[in-house]
Structure formats: C-alpha cells, structure tokens
Symmetry: C2
Subunit: 336 residues, 2 copies
C-alpha cells in the first residue's frame, strides 16, 4: 500500500475531468470510478484510461454511494455542485470541487460546515494556487516586501466563448454567473491572494446583457479595501484570449501574464523605481499535480488548517455574490 | 518675416513653462513676454533665455493686454485657467492652455464659444496627442482594424506626489480635482481617443480621502460605452511611477507603456491570436515641438476644424466632471 494512495471517483465526464486523470494516476492516486448521467458517455470516457476504471456508472448518486471511493472530484456545472458535494460529504468522502465552489457564498458555507462535521476535506480546483510561481510571488510581496504597500491591482482575463448558442457557460440554469463565474473567479481569487487574503470592504460590479444572452458575457468589477486600496478587473467572453495582472505598489510593480494557464515554465516581473525590471523565471511546474499532492496532504491533516483554502474560496464567493448584487442594483455593495 | 512665426506670451513661470521655451524657439516661434504675480520670479525665469524676452512683467493682466503678443501659453493652476483664458480671448489672442482645460466642462464650453466668437485658436497642452506614436496607433486601430472591435481598455497612471504638504496638486483651491486632474486627465483622454473619440454613456468613480487630504490622491474610474464596451483606469499619487495601457479587443490586444512621458524613442505592442507579439518601434519624436507645430498650423486654419481638439478636451472634462460627481454620490452618472 502506497502511503498517500486514495481511491477517487470522478463525477461527470467534463473536459476538465479528463485533464485530471493523468496527474492523479502519476501522483500515485487511483481512479476507481466515473459517473455520467449518460452511461454510454461514462463508458466512452473510461475506455482509454490506464489503469482501467473499476466502476463505470450511469448515475452520480450511485458513484457517491460506493464504499471503495474515498474522494470525489466534482467538475459538474455550478448549479448542481452543492447538492452533489453535500451528498458526498454525508457519505464520508473527501471532495475536490470545481469553481465557483457553489451558486452562492451561503451554499459554500454549508458545504464547509458539513465537511468539518464529518471531518472530511473539501478543496476547490483553483489550480494556480498550488503553482510554484504563486508561492514565489507570495515571498516577494509578503515576506520580502519587494515593492512596498500594494495600492491597486488591475486584472484582465478574456477568452472567447466558442459556440455561445450551445455552450453551458452561456446557460443561466447551469452556470448562473456567466463569465463572472468562469473567468471572474480567477480574477477575484488572484486579487484576494495578492491582497494577502484580505476581504474588500466594498465592491461595485457592472455588466450589460447582450441580445439573447442570459448571463454576463463581460463583467467589470471594482473592489475597495479598508485602507483605501483598490482592485479592478475585466473579464469577457467577447475579447481575444489574454491574462494580465499589474500590481501597483508604493515602491514598484509586480506583473504577470498567463496567470491561469497550465504553463510548465512561467515568470513574473518585478519593477522597482530606478532599477531595471527583474524577470523572475519559475522552473517547470505541473500545477494540477501540485493540487493533487496538496489535496492528499491536506486530507491527512487532522487540524482545522486543512480548511484554510476553502475559507478563501468562500471569501471569493462572497465577493462574487456582492459584485453580482451590485451590478443588478447599480449601486456599491458593502461586505462585512 | 518667417511664415509661421507668432509672438508668444508665457503666463506664469511654472516648471512646464520652462519646458516649452526650447520647442517654441527651435520651432521658429518667438517668446516675447513672460509674467508672474511675483515680478522677481519672472525676471529670474527670463534671465537665462536666449533670445532675450522683451516684456518681463509682474502681472498676468498686463501681459494679456500687450499688443505685440499673438498667443498666450497658460500653464497656471486649474482654478484660475478659465478667467485668464477668457481675458486672453477677449483681447484677440490665441490660447494654448494646460489641462485639465478648466474647472468644469461648462467653463470649457464658455472658453470654446468665446474663441469661436473672436476666431482665435484655443488648444490644450495634451502633448502626446501630437506624438507620432499616437498617429500610428490610430492607424492600427481605426484604419487597419488590426485587433478587431475594442471591448475594454485598462489604464494605470501612477506617480508619487513629492512634498504633499506644500505641493499645489494637493491644494483644493488651486487644483480641485487632485490626482484625477493631474493624472486621470491623461487616462480619460487616452481612453476616449482609443474609443475613436466616442463619449461613454455612463461612468462610475471612486476615491477615498486620506487623513489631512483635501483632494483625491487615488482615483478609480469606470466608463461604459453604448455597445457595452468599457474602460477602467486607476491613477494615484501614492504608488510608484508607472504608465500602462492594455486595449482588449475581439481579435487581439494593443498595449503600451510610458503613454505620457516625453520619450524620444517609443513603441507599442500588438498581439493577435496565435501570432507572435508585434513590437512597433516609433522613431524619435519631440511631442512638445509637434504640439507647437500643430498649434501654429491650426491657428492659420480658417475652418471650424481647428476646434476639433478642444471639443475632445471638453468631452474629457465632461467625463471628469461626471466621474467626480459619481464618486461623491456613490452612484453611476449618465452622460448624454
């Protein structure tokens, strides 16, 4: 028996589910089950996997009830994440859940309470948090105070939506937050991370529904922090692909591109007044494998520290909820 | 007699006034007068100028009344720009006015009406508009449609305020807009230019007054355009120097740094999907000399086209006014 080996069940055959199979198996984990509401699709998904998957089932509930599944991965649409996560936790299973972690922060809090109650891990699939670059940025900003006090963060994340007529990202009943959930989540989570996990005190959001659109296709967010610092982001399905962050601080700036992408090699740039820019190169890092390692490590943790990541997920949901509320009321929303 | 030669009066001895002396004289223009409320300061300012300045006077009104002044340059504080501009125009003189062009858009409209009435030119000192890079960007965006339809512009302009206790930029009675006038003006004007001189339909502004501060030291602006496009900017006296613009469009991005700075060599970057970034190098260009040339050329123009630049200045003032109003009422403001 390998020390960290857990038996995983993958709920749904979404594209991202396929991307986790390799990191799981190469990390010494075991995928023992996959489910789809369409059993044929589950069989097709399982057909090329090595080692072979034992349980290939046509019902998520059936997978969640399996005795030999220790942990489930939930890459299902946002609207159905919470009931499936709650059922998995009730059945005593650890849960790796895609983001946004729920339809609302309140739902996410229920998930956390249930996980604490059953003493199982719940963690979201925001992979870049576990990337080596992210840890290095944290050192520059917080341990070394490389650029002084952060004053503003500007964040742009754009990715064209393919087939908007049939894409579930444009379907309000499945993905109610539209581009704010799909792209804005990364912006919000990065901003909170770069602000050392502080919550803003006030947010303003804005979107315009285009003809025939049920969900935001573009979203502007503004976050105000308690010392007057601010952050703004723009995310959109309407613009060509780009990922860009600029952190403006009292003594310089930190900037990065491709802040989501699963790049192996990566970098960020530190500018200080009257010095040449420092381009910090980060060695190869498979962030999905890092996420799997972190998950397995945290699942063994017996302290409440294992829930810190999910508390940050809930904070991101609070900001996301408040941004949507602000956009719908055309008025800033306070966060306590 | 040189064809384009005009006789300039420089009103005030502000630092930027000194920066115009060389471009004026090397462009074949003649500086014939300088005024300061403090006559000693005027004398000191004039002392090292070649060719020597004929009229060195201790009163702005005295300069504005001089028969042999054709054009006045007004680098005076924002709060006193309009009365001096109006008096200059009444005296039949062309006016080059620093920006923001007035305390409000309404004041700016009065200036334009008076200039049209007396058939003299009024132009503001936004120098980068006359830079070769700006014209090249216009070609890429509008003539060549290089990156498709603009969806969002993100703009950051930060510059630390030296000596905030005594700097007139922090003095509400002289510079009522604070960093929004000093830095935000450039952001607004660039955004409107990059949107092909369209006005937004709605804006939102936000600032927090720090302890002992009379004017905004940091400002966040959001501009919404009629097809749902947006632009956001952050400007601040609290962060290290940086000038950064990212234009996100349907087919790619255009980005530039140092969008204000009087750099001789400059560049911008065009990104298109699945192509390597194109860094467009722009040859040497002295944008202040270009501004002087444009001024002299426009002053000879007998059509109303000569007022197009100032109409854009008024549009920028409208946006600036609305942003301040929005910030003060914590509510979006519509622009008609």
């Amino acid at each position: 028996l390998i020390a960290f080996l857990m038996r995983w069940g993958v709920v749904s055959t979404a594209k991202i589910a396929g991307q986790y199979f390799l990191p799981l198996t190469t990390s010494g984990e075991q995928v023992v089950a996959v489910s789809s509401r369409n059993e044929e699709r589950a069989k097709e998904w399982a057909s090329d996997k090595v080692p072979a998957i034992e349980h290939v089932v046509g019902s998520h509930d059936e997978l969640l009830a399996l005795q030999d599944v220790d942990v489930v991965y939930l890459p299902v649409p946002t609207a159905v994440r919470t009931p499936l996560a709650m059922k998995a936790i009730e059945n005593g299973k650890h849960v790796l859940i895609e983001k946004p972690v729920a339809a609302t922060a309140e739902e996410a809090s229920h998930i956390l309470a249930a996980a604490k109650d059953r003493n199982v891990l719940v963690l979201d699939g925001t992979m870049w948090i576990h990337h080596a670059r992210t840890k290095l940025i944290s050192e520059y900003l917080f341990q070394n105070n490389a650029i002084g006090a952060v004053q503003h963060i500007s964040c742009t994340l754009t990715s064209p939506l393919l087939n908007p007529g049939t894409n579930i990202r444009a379907n309000k009943s499945l993905e109610p937050h539209g581009c704010l959930g799909d792209l804005g989540w990364y912006c919000i989570r990065w901003i909170l991370f770069l602000m050392n996990n502080r919550l803003p005190v006030q947010v303003s959001g804005h979107y315009v529904l285009g003809e025939g659109e049920e969900v935001p296709f573009s979203f502007n967010g503004l976050l105000i922090f308690d010392k007057g610092e601010s952050a703004s982001f723009f995310c959109s399905f309407r613009a060509a692909r780009r990922q860009n962050i600029l952190v403006s601080a009292s003594q310089g700036q930190l900037s990065l591109e491709n802040f989501v992408t699963r790049n192996n090699e990566s970098e960020f740039t530190v500018n200080k007044a009257s010095e040449a820019p420092e381009v910090v190169k980060v060695p190869n890092c498979d962030q999905m494998a890092e996420l799997v390692s972190a998950f397995v490590e945290l699942a063994k943790d017996t302290t409440t520290n294992k829930f810190t990541h999910f508390e940050h997920s809930i904070d991101s949901m609070k900001v996301l909820d408040a941004l949507l509320q602000s956009a719908e009321n055309s008025s800033p929303v306070s966060i306590s």
